[in-house]
Assembly symmetry: C2
């Protein structure tokens, strides 16, 4: 409940426009019109909630918690807006992307605006360690996207590279959400470390879930077209696993399909489903979640441990 109330405050803060420029406000409002799941904000809010130390905090403790969680959502949203330029995406969260409704230029600029607004809010909190962590996370997201771009059509991609892409693109900001949250919550070193590792794991799992969702192996409406990764010639875990167990001839055939400008996404989809790739992805997820569950049980703050278990359950239940 406490977390939910703070999460609502994060949403309010995110939706608040502050500029006198109508074009800036229009674009900004469009980006935050549809509320996302806010997993990163939630992880940050859980990590920063430390009632046993409540008296140690300033009066504006709750305000700072909410602000930090909002900052993390701002960074995430800025990367999404730029991703839509990179992926030439027309739909996001069930609505038109900025690049579609306005233009690529607008998307690049409102992304930059949102990034820098996040750093303005960070400067207000004024803890260099937090700024360092979040700047590094933002930096890793860009690197992760570049590595992914570099490995388009790389049908012999190494699992290690895919793991790195997943960590940089998604795990790193999840991790930073808990690390910076723990700083604000003045959490014990032990709990801070566990929370940070747990969030990193969940981020990596979340990205694999996303890769699976792209294959449409779910009834969930993810608010964007499916098989986008294949169409963009991106190799994610499902295809990597499928290729791994294939003959050289099949590998060549798939490579040819990926090389083809008019990729027949459905053919690759059928190929992936004909293998044990999806099963392997789900095993990977199950292992990740089980390991994470064990870690969460070691958190000394019982309330936080419970909140994290709930969040883990929510993520685990996503149905493929």
């Amino acid at each position: 409940m406490k977390i939910d109330a703070s999460l609502a405050a994060v949403d309010q803060l995110l939706k608040r426009t502050i500029e006198s420029e109508s074009i800036v406000n229009d674009l900004y409002r469009h980006v935050f019109q549809v509320s996302g799941k806010k997993l990163r904000a939630k992880l940050c809010l859980i990590s920063s909630l430390n009632e046993s130390n409540y008296e140690k905090f300033d009066n504006n403790y709750e305000e700072i918690r909410v602000q930090l969680a909002a900052i993390i959502e701002l960074l995430h949203s800025a990367t999404l807006v730029h991703d839509d330029v990179i992926d030439l995406a027309s739909q996001r969260r069930g609505q038109e992307t900025v690049s579609e409704a306005w233009s690529n230029s607008h998307a690049v600029l409102i992304g930059d605006y949102i990034y820098s607004r996040a750093f303005v809010l960070m400067a207000q909190i004024g803890v260099p360690e937090i700024i360092d962590e979040l700047a590094d996370a933002t930096n890793k997201i860009a690197q992760g996207e570049l590595i992914q771009l570099q490995n388009k059509k790389n049908w012999s991609i190494d699992k290690k590279i895919l793991e790195k892409i997943n960590y940089y693109k998604t795990g790193r900001l999840f991790e930073a959400a808990s690390k910076t949250g723990s700083i604000i919550g003045k959490r014990s070193k032990k709990d801070a470390n566990i929370l940070t590792t747990v969030s990193k794991n969940l981020g990596i799992a979340f990205q694999i879930q996303d890769d699976l969702l792209d294959y449409g192996l779910s009834n969930i409406d993810i608010g964007k077209p499916k098989l986008q990764d294949i169409k963009e010639q991106k190799i994610t875990f499902p295809l990597m696993f499928a290729l791994e167990e294939s003959s050289n001839q099949t590998k060549k055939d798939i490579k040819n399909l990926l090389d083809n400008k008019e990729v027949v996404a459905e053919k690759i989809y059928d190929f992936v489903l004909s293998t044990s790739a999806i099963k392997k992805c789900n095993q990977l997820l199950d292992n990740n979640f089980k390991m994470t569950q064990e870690l969460i049980r070691n958190i000394s703050d019982n309330y936080i441990s419970l909140e994290m278990l709930n969040l883990l359950d929510e993520m685990w239940k996503r149905d493929y």
Copy 2:
């Protein structure tokens, strides 16, 4: 001399690649391969040089000065890389842009990488006031570009809006260079204020010079194609002044030319040159420089005052 030595150190810092990812290094090196004029870094270095207070500083004072100046160039370079996406530019500083040599996606991402690297370095310096100032400047640059985008083909654009665009796009970061430099230099409030205003003025003048250079009214090779602003349907000071003194019929004709997808840039060029617009731009510049010169003379630190006068002279000499 002192400033030049520090400027060389800035250049070295900028050219140093730190990532293990080859794609990140390749892109990064491409961006910093050709050294720009580094006016912003220079303003920052002048503002932070305070020998009379030398003993007050830590051992790493020179290191921090150079780092701050490099941060400002990083921010500037990130905006240039993103600008090239927005303007669909193929040339910058006499070489291919990232968007041309790789792709728009690469340009968006290496821009994000450079931005966030700047913030990582800011966190190392660890002064929230500096982070706040530079985050706000970055934010204003994005806003300035958006306002400009919004006013494409706005043939009745108000001078006030153009002034705002120039300040946000260029003046703001010049201003921030001196403001943050003055913080590192522990400068007197009076000198800090003068330096900050002077740099803001110079930034605005620099943008007007750039607008004029786009009209090719110079022998300087600016390393990019000319008449780009018109081709992108951007109205800058020369065209604004030309329209201001024109009949309604001429205004309509020019509007039709701008509306036309195949803009005949040369026709607009001829129109601008047939008016007193260029003279008015030069008057604007002269007034700016004279006012700035007066301000510089009020700086109490003689060495700094001299350095600023030299820089002003350099800018003033640019030949149109």
